[in-house]
């Protein structure tokens, strides 16, 4: 039988041995790959081999500083990690020559250091994009090899589960999570402790924890980021949730095609089984728990909690009516909880360090940290974990470095396509669930897309509505027809052919959608237009009255994907008759 103590001892020895020779880490998550990190990784391996240097070269996930990709950090024994940004294969070879062979750390090329100081290089802790961060759920991202159990345990992993299993009753775990004030990070911001309580109280021997990593919202990439960089933190969190609620199995729900998150989560689950951290009698306790990855096809609505269950069952991802709620009748009719990746990724630290510690971070009603994804017209796109309560201005200007275009911020698009937009005049509101909701936006799952004054609100909203129209699952006709109608109206306005009645028409459609749709996709469908009318009414007015685009961004003939589904019914189906089946 494996005990936590033996696992921890082995892991620490492995980690210590890694630090006895130079260790080069290369960020190869999706942002790194898009910037060419794979080529840099090969160049580093070749250079180290050619010069016969006994250095370890390891692909790691993303540390969140996507703007600096490809990002390489080199740590010599007993020295701090030195980060180098925008490394090319040529630069990689130079770094091996200069720092590893000549001991010149090349301060001119460095972004910063972590874990100590090096002459001439500013510590990363002083970098504006790093300084405000408090890294809890993302603590290991970019530091450990994804899906490497020894790396995870050596950095304090599985302390939370070991503590829960040996020192706490399930009800005490729920109490601790309730005390922490942790709220769901998928968008609804519901109390995680309360949600777990519903499941714990549901009768029956079979219950499920469903982890949502569908993350189809454009502008959000932090769930995938965690699974691609440190899947064990989610797996440990999910296992603790299983123990607390009496669940028997966890499904991690990921969109097909996102290879990094899928591969690493599958591998980490395998490793956890091998080490006795999943399966029967975990760490010698009476608790047993299984986990697997379930894939969904491309469908934004499959991230909605009841549609997600339909997709895991292998059907069309269309929402179910509630009640009954998933905690009573969920996946395959069994009680289920749906939690976002980020929510569960906090749990190991919350249990290990206590709910009070977590509750001491953040604001009165939004405890802990927010993991924000910054993208768009921003100098430093990336994903950053910051305490709730920071103003949006600090996030966009300090961390993000402003627009980087020389033009001021015009609006922020937050919380996914349905979250709508916030005008620049709201930059001083605090980052928290309730404050942002009051200002007319959604924190959602943390996506913030920055748009500068070259943006036309009509153009952006048209893109958002086109997305929503394409992604409507079609079950509720107010959503299915409403988005189509709204998009037609926006097409007309963008082309300078709007009618005086158009804004009123969209309001009427939006109202019908919010009243007549089963899930948030239709209910919130008017949000993008509504919020844009609130903050950028002038853009609409110029389009309607002067029949022109104020910034020239609107292209009347936008290329959009096919707008109807199902697709090729006529030809294909007609040719292959299945009457005999």
């Amino acid at each position: 039988m494996t005990t936590y103590a033996t696992l921890a001892q082995e892991a620490r020895a492995h980690w210590a041995a890694l630090h006895e020779r130079p260790w080069i880490r290369v960020g190869t998550a999706i942002c790194g790959k898009a910037a060419g990190a794979q080529e840099v990784l090969h160049a580093l391996r070749r250079a180290v081999e050619r010069r016969g240097i006994p250095a370890t070269v390891t692909p790691v996930g993303c540390i969140g500083l996507c703007f600096a990709e490809p990002l390489v950090d080199i740590q010599k024994p007993g020295r701090p990690r030195i980060f180098y940004q925008k490394v090319t294969p040529h630069l990689a070879a130079t770094l091996v020559e200069d720092y590893l062979l000549q001991d010149n750390p090349r301060p001119d090329l460095a972004l910063g250091t972590l874990g100590g100081r090096v002459e001439g290089i500013a510590p990363l802790e002083e970098h504006p994009a790093w300084k405000p961060q408090v890294r809890i759920a993302t603590r290991n991202c970019g530091t450990v090899e994804p899906a490497n159990l020894a790396h995870y345990i050596a950095n304090g992993g599985y302390q939370g589960l070991a503590k829960a299993l040996t020192e706490m009753k399930p009800a005490q775990v729920i109490e601790e999570v309730t005390k922490s004030g942790l709220r769901g990070r998928g968008g609804a911001a519901f109390s995680t402790g309360a949600k777990w309580n519903f499941l714990a109280r549901a009768p029956g021997p079979v219950k499920y924890i469903l982890v949502n990593c569908e993350e189809g919202d454009p502008g959000a990439f932090n769930d995938k980021g965690i699974l691609e960089s440190d899947p064990f933190t989610l797996i440990e969190g999910c296992t603790i949730a299983g123990y607390a609620t009496g669940a028997t199995k966890g499904y991690v729900f990921i969109r097909h095609g996102h290879e990094g998150p899928i591969t690493f989560t599958r591998k980490a689950i395998q490793e956890a089984y091998k080490a006795g951290l999943l399966g029967k009698n975990i760490l010698g306790s009476a608790f047993s728990f299984d986990m697997e990855v379930a894939l969904t096809g491309e469908s934004y609505v499959s991230g909605e909690e009841t549609a997600l269950m339909e997709a895991i069952e292998g059907k069309r991802a269309m929402p179910r009516s509630r009640p009954p709620f998933p905690a009573q009748v969920g996946l395959w009719g069994k009680p289920s909880n749906i939690n976002n990746v980020k929510t569960l990724s906090y749990v190991p630290e919350v249990v290990a360090r206590g709910g009070a510690w977590f509750a001491s971070i953040g604001t009165e009603k939004s405890k802990g940290t927010a993991i924000v994804c910054l993208s768009g017209q921003v100098a430093r796109p990336g994903w950053y974990e910051v305490p709730f309560g920071l103003t949006l201005r600090r996030v966009v200007e300090d961390i993000g470095g402003g627009t980087g275009t020389g033009r001021p911020v015009k609006l922020l698009q937050t919380g996914g396509p349905l979250g709508g937009v916030l005008g620049a005049e709201r930059l001083d509101i605090a980052l928290d669930f309730d404050g942002m909701a009051q200002a007319g936006a959604i924190f959602g799952s943390g996506g913030i897309i920055v748009a500068d004054t070259a943006t036309c609100a009509v153009d952006l909203v048209r893109n958002l509505v086109a997305f929503c129209q394409f992604e409507s699952c079609g079950k509720c006709f107010p959503c299915r027809l409403g988005f189509t109608h709204m998009l037609e109206v926006l097409d007309r306005i963008a082309a300078g052919q709007g009618r005086p009645s158009d804004l009123e028409a969209m309001r009427t459609i939006g109202q019908a959608m919010s009243l007549g749709s089963l899930c948030g996709h239709g209910q919130l469908g008017f949000n993008p237009v509504h919020s844009a009318l609130r903050f950028c009414a002038e853009d609409f007015r110029i389009h309607l009255e002067e029949r022109r685009c104020p910034t020239g961004a609107c292209e009347p003939r936008l290329s959009l994907p096919k707008r109807t589904r199902p697709e090729p019914v006529g030809g294909w189906y007609a040719r292959h008759s299945y009457a005999h089946h």
Binding site: I30, A34, A35, Q38, C66, F67, E215, G216, P218, G219, A220, F221, K224, Y251, H256, H258, R266, E292, V293, A294, L295, T296, G297, E298, S299, A311, I312, E313, G314, K315, R316, C373, L374, S375, G376, Q377, P381, G382, W383, P417, G447, I449, D459, L460, N463, L464, F467, F470, C473, S559, L560, P561, R565, P566, E567, P568, V569, H576, Y578, H581
Partner: protein, 165 residues
């Protein structure tokens, strides 16, 4: 039944039978076939129905719902251009125009010579490196229209792009 039909069925059955996860459903089986074959031929619908005990109609209902399934063979090269709001703000339309011009396509679809398939992707997940495009499973970030044109020209006389080992 010709031998090539039988070979195709074998590939499909193999893909359905060798799924790594314990829970096998209509959707998971369809995804496995799409990965292995690149599209869903009529035989795939039948084999998935047989394997899962669902009706052909039920399987077709699932297949027609998710937008990543294809019902015709894809071109030799597949190019996906992201049109999410971040990419849109940073110039996705210009990239799309460049790709469409280079391929002679008015929108999504396959070139008549079946060399290229163009798809619009709602979000490739690389928002921090926008605008992004995916060419034969290789992701490119901060793409310019000129770079997109060059990538396609480079492919015109070569085999499908392979990621370096």
């Amino acid at each position: 039944m010709s031998s090539s039909d039988e070979a195709l069925r074998q590939r499909i059955r193999q893909a359905i039978a060798s799924q790594p996860q314990p829970t096998v459903t209509v959707l998971s089986s369809l995804l496995a076939v799409q990965d292995a074959v690149g599209w869903l031929p009529p035989e795939a619908i039948e084999e998935v129905a047989r394997h899962t005990g669902a009706t052909v109609n039920d399987v077709w209902a699932v297949a027609s719902f998710y937008t990543n399934f294809r019902f015709t063979p894809p071109g030799i090269h597949t190019i996906e251009v992201c049109w999410g709001p971040t990419c849109h703000l940073l110039g996705a339309q210009a990239i799309l125009r460049a790709v469409q011009e280079a391929l002679g396509l008015p929108g999504e679809g396959d070139t008549p010579d079946k060399r290229f398939s163009l798809k619009l992707n709602t979000c490739l997940g690389a928002c921090a490196q926008a605008p992004a495009l995916l060419l034969d499973h290789h992701l490119y970030g901060r793409v310019t229209p000129e770079q997109a044109r060059r990538l396609l020209q480079g492919l015109n006389h070569t085999a499908p792009h392979q990621e370096a080992p």
